[in-house]
């Protein structure tokens, strides 16, 4: 693996599977009375959040704490950034404090990339502008893999633990390891233009062998989307019956100074997932949403709360996946520079 995780493109197929397999094992720890591991004792993880976030910041914090790392939370509000300190000066401060990893969220695309040049530790992108959010893509892939029974944790019904039984497991290399997402059809719907989640997901899901279809109004597709490894369409109703996964994206009203569609109601009617549209989905299909949801806009409340919806699961899986990323980036020896 790379020393940093800035883009989903940093991950090869093997890297991505390693993260998912590691997360599978770590997820089992959350069932235990003692959920803590000593692995990152003495390591410092800085959460550097220049943009508001609840679930991602808490998720990273929980992940680092479960691995016994020391966590320093830094949010732009109430810090020297509010006084005009530059990203570089902030980075040098962190460097002087000896941060082993910096988890950064920033409203400017490319900020984590710049930061990686200034600090010695690992940089993990927790969302930069409309660019990428690789750990969200990893937790989405993890959730899909679990729901479709392809993870290493699934299908091991050998009760009291006939330990050796799993050694001949499913295919990919070492026994008992999970599979990729080959052949699954994932439809991502909504505001692709402002969505770092969409970009990271397209890259990662493609790496893992899934077929990705984007559905959005033409105004909400980024320039050069035709170079992405996915197909594009504008008709949600046609796409639903052939989807294994439907991922609804939040309409990012805070990023919409310009009008990208005539009205919220019209958007909702054409691109929202309501009960009638959910009825068109095949039985196996799951509905995902990276949160926070605009209930009644891109997703109806009844759909969000249905058993097909993985919204709550995604949050729980986020901690396991982020533990895996922190462990794989920080747990081993440091690469020589």
């Amino acid at each position: 693996m790379n020393r940093h995780l800035i883009s989903a493109a940093d991950l090869s197929r093997d890297d991505a599977l390693l993260v998912l397999d590691t997360a599978d094992e770590l997820a089992r720890i959350s069932d235990r009375p003692i959920k803590k591991l000593p692995t990152l004792r003495g390591r410092t993880v800085v959460n550097l959040f220049f943009e508001d976030s609840t679930r991602t910041r808490i998720s990273f914090e929980a992940a680092a704490k479960r691995l016994s790392a020391d966590v320093i939370n830094f949010s732009a509000k109430g810090s020297s950034v509010a006084k005009g300190e530059s990203l570089k000066d902030t980075a040098l401060t962190l460097e002087a404090m000896g941060a082993d990893a910096v988890v950064i969220r920033h409203n400017a695309s490319g900020a984590p990339h710049r930061l990686a040049e200034w600090v010695h530790g690992s940089v993990i992108n927790a969302g930069d502008g409309a660019h990428e959010h690789p750990t969200q893509a990893l937790l989405d892939a993890f959730t899909i893999r679990r729901r479709f029974g392809r993870s290493s944790g699934s299908g091991t019904g050998n009760g009291g633990g006939t330990g050796s039984g799993s050694a001949t497991g499913n295919g990919t290399g070492r026994g008992g390891r999970g599979a990729a997402l080959d052949g699954l059809r994932v439809t991502i719907v909504g505001d692709i233009l402002h969505s770092r989640v969409a970009r990271s997901n397209v890259i990662l899901l493609h790496t893992l062998g899934a077929e990705v279809l984007l559905i959005a109004p033409p105004t909400l597709l980024p320039v050069a989307v035709d170079t992405w490894p996915c197909s594009i369409d504008y008709d949600l109703d046609a796409a639903l019956p052939k989807s294994d996964v439907v991922m609804m994206l939040r309409v990012q009203q805070e990023r919409m100074n310009a009008a990208y569609f005539p009205s919220v109601r019209e958007y909702s009617r054409r691109y929202g997932l309501d009960a009638a549209r959910m009825a068109q989905l095949p039985e196996r299909t799951i509905v995902m949403h990276p949160g926070p949801m605009n209930r009644g806009v891109e997703i109806a409340a009844g759909v969000a709360d249905s058993p097909r919806s993985t919204v709550v699961e995604q949050v729980a899986n986020g901690v396991s996946v982020r533990m895996a990323v922190l462990y794989l980036l920080l747990g081993g020896a440091e690469d020589d520079q």
Partner: protein, 211 residues
């Protein structure tokens, strides 16, 4: 101390009547039948020392400790007639040398449904060397519950302890130099049963796990 094992104390593996070698892998110091007999003996010793193995839980340390734990459980069940809970205990996250190598892949921890609280946990591993793996396993157990007692069973004890740890059950005491490499092959993992002693030429392959 306290246990004299019939199979132990050969002066040197090379003097074994059965010694033969596998090209590129080293000398065979335990054949399939000898492994079988050693495990049968350990199973009986466990029954004896735990008064019928009623409260025993066998936890194998991946990779090869896991099938060994399964075989011991089967051996004990054959004599005592009741099933012995067994599982696996991954120690990766508890190692003291994590920062000396790239991050390792995690293995499965599988604890029997009744847990380990109040039980006699027998840790099972293939080779006992520095003792660091066992130390990590004790830490890992600590996070899983509070057993009444913890014991240690190993197929091969090759010496060179770096911590105050001793096994309770030993398949074979194998005096080695630190340049040598002990490889345990098991049918469940490697397709055959054997214990090999080689030189550290191909040290990156396996058996160095104990370091």
């Amino acid at each position: 101390m306290g246990h004299v094992h019939s199979a132990g104390h050969e002066p040197r593996p090379g003097t074994d009547a059965t010694a033969r070698s596998v090209p590129g892998q080293g000398k065979i110091v335990l054949e399939r039948d000898e492994i079988g007999r050693a495990l049968t003996r350990i199973a009986h010793e466990i029954i004896e020392r735990t008064r019928g193995a009623e409260q025993v839980v066998l936890l194998g340390i991946p990779t090869r400790g896991v099938p060994l734990a399964g075989r011991l459980a089967a051996g004990i069940q054959q004599v005592e007639g009741h099933p012995i809970p067994h599982g696996s205990l991954d120690i990766t996250m508890y190692r003291d040398d994590l920062r000396l190598r790239p991050a390792r892949t995690l293995r499965r921890t599988r604890v029997p449904p009744d847990g380990i609280d109040g039980k006699i946990v027998v840790l099972v591993d293939d080779v006992l060397y520095s003792g660091r793996t066992v130390r990590a396993a004790l830490d890992a157990l600590n996070d899983l519950g509070r057993p009444r007692a913890v014991q240690l069973a190993v197929l091969v004890d090759r010496g060179h302890r770096e911590l105050p740890i001793r096994p309770d059950y030993v398949g074979k005491n194998l005096p080695t130099s630190q340049q040598e490499l002990v490889r345990v092959l098991l049918t469940e993992v490697d397709g055959e049963d054997a214990v090999l002693l080689g030189t550290a030429a191909g040290a990156e392959t396996t058996g160095g796990r104990q370091r």
